[in-house]
Symmetry: C2
Subunit: 753 residues, 2 copies
């Protein structure tokens, strides 16, 4: 036998071995129970799924994580620590690794993974009967493994999935033991034994409902599922009971998952606290719904309330900028995006169960991971088959409130030749404890960059140096205050005098929204409660026109009141100031702008006054130019300012703002923001460094109408009129401008002359 | 004849036509003169070159530009405007489009491009005899087409290339006419008629030398080439003559291109003004050198002064961060990089004529364009053939001064497990008018991000709103001053009391440089002139160690003096302060830190005093953590500050700094900067948010030695000692630390215990 033949036969032998190993690994059986994660059709596709790169990669990542965890051995410590401490983090890693191990077992058939889950569960089952509630009593509902039931509910949501994966593989005796000693007791603990946690209309309770319900589905226990869907019939909860954040426990008569679906989302899928918290809350919603659809398809949960779950996912994705980062309204840390773990679940589940919109696939591709279940397989398969289409962010109005009648948020998107703008006008309800005093506040984006920013939250989540990663006191004293927003402040006081309870009673009102036109997208809203006796009416339009390289943003803010007031209107920009059309005096020593309502956190850097006409300011950020041109009255005060005063722990950013101030009763603020030109640091050439917007003026201002005009530098005239007292689509209006009749139908008119 | 046959034969006809058109387009002939851009071998490859994507794309881009310009028609206006005005920009576009059109002609054979160049030159030839110098007299040497000869010399450098391209195509009569009426007169104008422009040792004159020499090469005029290489023998220039920036005209006896090569670069290829200006200056050097090599290869210009031109290109590229952006030492606008037009020429020419280093190809790939000549073809071909290798930035010391004896700059690079650091220690000469008062100043980069920044220039080049794009007064009052740098300030005065003439007399001195070790890269330099009677000695080391994810930077700054002084040592960081180990009082009203030498531009935000031991500060930037731990004496003042005071036109950025201050005579400042950990805004998890450097201390400090020690949190001890009075590599040293002998050979010792 010569040498090359030897090597050749060795190779053959090795390959045969490899093939047989992988064949053993891939023996799958049909499901013997109603799985919450898989169906028979999916299981039959597992071998094929290894050809779909995203699925294969996701499985490899999971296996790597689980292998690492398995190598550490099983540790189920007696609960002791708070978040960040060992026992807390260990129990968290335990449920995460059980869930992943279970899925890897189903997908590969390798029993060591099932064994790991079983061993872990048995260890928990041994410990469980001896456990009282967690020794820390910081929570209104202390858990067993964790300091709060919220984490225990997380445990059950993940563990139910792990149990589902090995359910068929366990003997009946093993199942009986686990269910009797561990799983049912934990489900009862989170529900009947802790009604103040289970029976709320609150994202905490969604986790509890989901955990109890998912376990019920796996075990085929209809009573548990019923409890999850409808809540506890008798909870004996006191109407005045509050949680440890001061939130009311009992706000509604109903409870359970279906009630959460009815009450936590608006009819458009908007979540009262905003996208940052919606991102966190969405996971138990979609994962329990997917479980119901897999195990109890006859419920048609994805059709519930006209498909509210799908709407919630789309609302969330559309509440993000061009890069997928959520608009940071209310308490929101910037940078959170659809790349988060929760959105991977939401996108995959919405795709699989919600009509297979190919645009969702492009988001899944960016996420670069899929769920290891039927929905993730479906997504990975369809991406592999080339079905993905780019996701297009849409202009949309999202109503707020369970009935859709407590205001809303308007999102405008406009493409220009050189870039796209997104504007957000917020006229929602307060948004509860995490809400900001930001009625009719505005934010503006060019592509994925903030042009007029919402400051977001004053918090560095999980950064221990910053007060343990919790909310900082500057969140209350600055970030929540009206002056921290691109919103009107009357007499230097925040909306509702900064009182959340008052704020919770009111909401702003949509006036009109129209994204149906090519050249203009426009939203208009009113508020009459933030300042008693003062009606604010703000209209934001994005306008695309052939003479401009980029869209313009028009901002018309009318204030109606019987009393003389001081108004401040900040615009929070980014970057380097290049020029102002007004003269100002620079401050040689900086002092804070006030002593309350957030003013104490702003340094005034320069102050000037305008003449009647236009006041324009140009700045530069990321090598792009921006000019805001405002209609000015003689004596309007223009303050160039910066955040960061009275900030002993350096908790605030040092961000610039322009504040336009006026003493008046009824009045109107009009500004046009033009993004223009660009600069190259390599060629050192600037293009279009000057604004082409000229002569912005109010051409009509009455109780019934406001009309403005501006020009392109070529002389082209543009006009926009708003009917202030009727948003009816069919009502006819007419005004005279320069002795010419201007008539139109509906709440606004945009014309070029 | 059925339909499909008809279509088929139509297609055949169309393809035949296309092929014949492209064949016509590709008829090239051998060169009939010594071209400055091409050689016969290159011309023979032109058809093949269309298969090299980078070359094809570069040609298409050039053709598009030229077609646009040709569509506008020929306009050679009577010179009138300054930079930015119509006639200035038109003449500039004229020479750019002639150059590109000439090259497109050579490469495609399409005569319309040659015709365009000829028509343009003929129009110039008609106008030229009637032209006096430009009406503006702002320059010390007004041009003909432009307000300064510098732009006229640019014109000649580009036009010579255009002329080269159509030289063979023109009739002898046409050549005679153009040379008599336009080209020779312009060459004489820039040389014999303007000796103050031609005969300097200055980048202005390099352009003049190059233009005159390149024209001479095209025409085969050895006298012009000799004039370009050696300058004017008699220039009659006054020794005290100055240019309009106050620079001396006559600083050296020699002139001409070879003298520039000898005198403008250090033996290592460093250019006195720094990389930002070197980038601008390099173009006429490399393009004239390439012309000489093409037309007069026997001169072997690329071997001149031991290959100084190649060294200059490598020096420049190595004076950039991981993204190719130049270190912004001296007057330098940030963001300028090897993506600039000049570097495209430099890289292609250095590759073609300088030994074909495959690492240069990766830069050309990033530049995504090549020159349309022999060098660009060579680069494109070798990239297409897969020869490119990643460019690795090297640690290196670059000596300053024509003789290499006026200081230098040390660049350290260190790879860690999680990221790479680059540190720059500057101990050059002043760098003439664009030099900053920044002896022994430090800057630090992690990958392409600035960690300890050099502020750069206070100028927004070509941004008209900022004083026409010129140098701003804050460049003098702040950016040039010592306090704008990570450098020691003694008694609140800048180096040389901020006097450039004094600064030009002195330089700092290299002490040692060692990049040969795996675990430590180290540079050490001294200065004894910035402050008379004060010797500064600064050593910077980058240290890589298995216990740390990222390299550490060690900074040891010893000051020796007989007098009691006040010392300030700023560290300009970026991002959000997270914590300090010392207590401080926040300023409720901000006042500038001083009234001169740049201090008037800095707001003090918080002041505190240290105890003896360590003072540590942690911050966060781009979701990475950084901690600087300094050895502190009791009573060191720590000021948290920010730039931007006394800035009436908002010309300065608002950047943070930590300033360490101490009143002492001889003393030592020791700091260790550790980049560590990372944060995710999507998972909201922070990893490694705390420094692992503990107990930094000075374990020996004498006239002869400084030795420090620090620990990793595991207890691992590291020590670094510097011999302060001997940098000899072979000298033996010994000190006692904790009663143990520590001996070594050479200027430093780094040990782990």
């Amino acid at each position: 036998m010569n040498k090359s033949i030897t090597i050749y036969s060795l190779l053959i032998t090795a390959m045969t071995l490899l093939l047989s190993i992988s064949a053993i690994g891939q023996e799958k059986e049909a499901l013997e129970h109603n799985s919450i994660l898989f169906d028979d059709a999916t299981i039959a596709q597992v071998d094929e799924a290894m050809d779909w790169p995203l699925f294969r990669q996701s499985l490899e990542d999971a296996r790597e994580f689980v292998d690492e965890q398995m190598a550490l051995g099983i540790d189920v410590p007696i609960p002791k620590d708070l978040a960040g401490g060992y026992t807390h983090e260990r129990h968290k890693l335990n449920y995460l690794s059980m869930q992943q191990a279970g899925k890897v077992f189903v997908l590969t058939g390798e029993e060591k993974y099932a064994q790991f889950v079983k061993d872990m569960l048995m260890t928990y089952a041994e410990l469980y009967p001896s456990l009282d509630r967690h020794p820390s009593r910081k929570s209104y509902s202390p858990g067993k493994f964790f300091w709060q039931c919220l984490n225990d509910a997380n445990w059950l949501v993940y563990t139910s999935q792990a149990y589902d994966c090995i359910y068929d593989w366990l003997s009946e005796g093993e199942r009986t033991l686990l269910e009797r000693e561990l799983l049912r007791p934990q489900a009862d603990f989170l529900s009947v034994e802790t009604p103040q946690f289970f029976n709320r209309i609150h994202n905490h309770s969604t986790w509890a409902n989901a955990g109890v319900g998912m376990l019920g589905l796996v075990m085929g226990d209809t009573l548990l599922v019923h409890r999850a869907l409808y809540g506890l019939e008798e909870d004996g909860l006191d109407a005045d009971m509050k949680d440890n954040d001061g939130g009311k426990i009992k706000s509604e008569e109903r409870a359970g998952f279906l009630a959460q679906l009815d009450l936590l989302f608006s009819p458009d899928g908007f979540y009262a606290e905003g996208p940052y918290y919606q991102r966190y809350a969405i996971y138990p919603f979609v994962v329990f719904a997917a479980s119901l659809q897999n195990a109890r398809p006859e419920l048609e949960i994805f059709k519930y309330r006209e498909g509210i779950l799908g709407k919630a996912v789309y609302a969330l994705v559309n509440l993000s900028d061009a890069d997928g980062e959520f608009f940071p309204i209310n308490d929101a840390q910037k940078g959170m995006s659809y790349y988060s773990r929760e959105l991977v679940s939401a996108i995959d589940i919405a795709y699989h169960f919600g009509g297979q919109n190919p645009e969702l696939l492009s988001i899944a591709q960016k996420q670069n991971t899929v769920l290891l279940d039927a929905s993730g397989m479906h997504v990975a398969a369809d991406i592999a088959n080339g079905k993905s289409k780019p996701f297009v962010h849409k202009s949309m109005e999202l109503r707020d409130g369970a009935d859709g009648k407590t205001g809303g948020v308007g999102i405008l998107r406009m493409d220009g030749k050189a870039s796209s703008l997104s504007a957000v006008l917020k006229y929602t309800a307060q948004g509860m404890g995490h809400g900001h005093f930001d009625k009719l506040s505005l934010s503006l984006y060019e592509e994925g960059r903030e042009i007029l920013q919402d400051y977001g939250v004053a918090r560095f989540v999980n950064i221990e140096q910053k007060d343990g990663g919790g909310y900082l006191k500057e969140n209350q004293t600055f970030a929540k205050q009206t002056v921290a927003h691109n919103a009107l402040i009357v007499n230097k006081e925040s909306h509702f005098k900064g009182n959340t309870d008052t704020g919770n009673k009111y909401h702003s009102d949509p006036y009109f929204f129209d994204a149906s036109q090519e050249e203009i997208k426009i939203v208009s809203a009113k508020d009459q409660h933030a300042y008693p006796g003062v009606e604010q009416h703000r209209t934001i339009a994005l306008i695309s026109d052939g003479l401009f390289e980029k869209p313009l943003m028009v901002d018309i803010l009318s204030v109606s009141t019987a009393t003389q007031n001081h108004y401040d209107l900040p615009y929070y920009y980014f970057g380097q100031l290049l020029s102002t059309s007004w003269d100002y005096d620079i401050e040689n020593n900086l002092t804070p702008m006030g002593d309350g309502h957030g003013y104490e956190h702003i340094w005034a850097e320069a102050k000037g006054k305008t003449e009647e006409g236009n006041a324009a300011m140009t700045w530069m950020d990321h090598d792009q130019f921006y000019t805001i041109t405002s209609v000015s009255q003689k004596g309007d005060q223009m303050t160039l300012a910066r955040t960061g005063a009275n900030d002993p722990d350096f908790n605030l950013r040092r961000d610039p703002l322009l504040m336009i101030s006026r003493d008046a009763a009824t009045t109107t603020f009009v500004s046009i923001l033009e993004p223009h030109g660009e600069y190259s640091r390599v060629s050192e050439l600037s293009k279009g460094a000057f604004s082409e917007v000229k002569e912005v003026q109010i051409v009509h201002d009455s109780e019934a109408y406001i009309a403005i005009e501006w020009k392109h530098e070529t002389g082209q005239v543009y006009r926009l009129a708003i009917a202030k007292q009727s948003n009816d689509q069919t009502t006819s209006h007419e005004i005279k401008v320069e002795n010419q009749l201007w008539d139109w139908k509906g709440p606004y008119s945009y014309i070029k002359k």
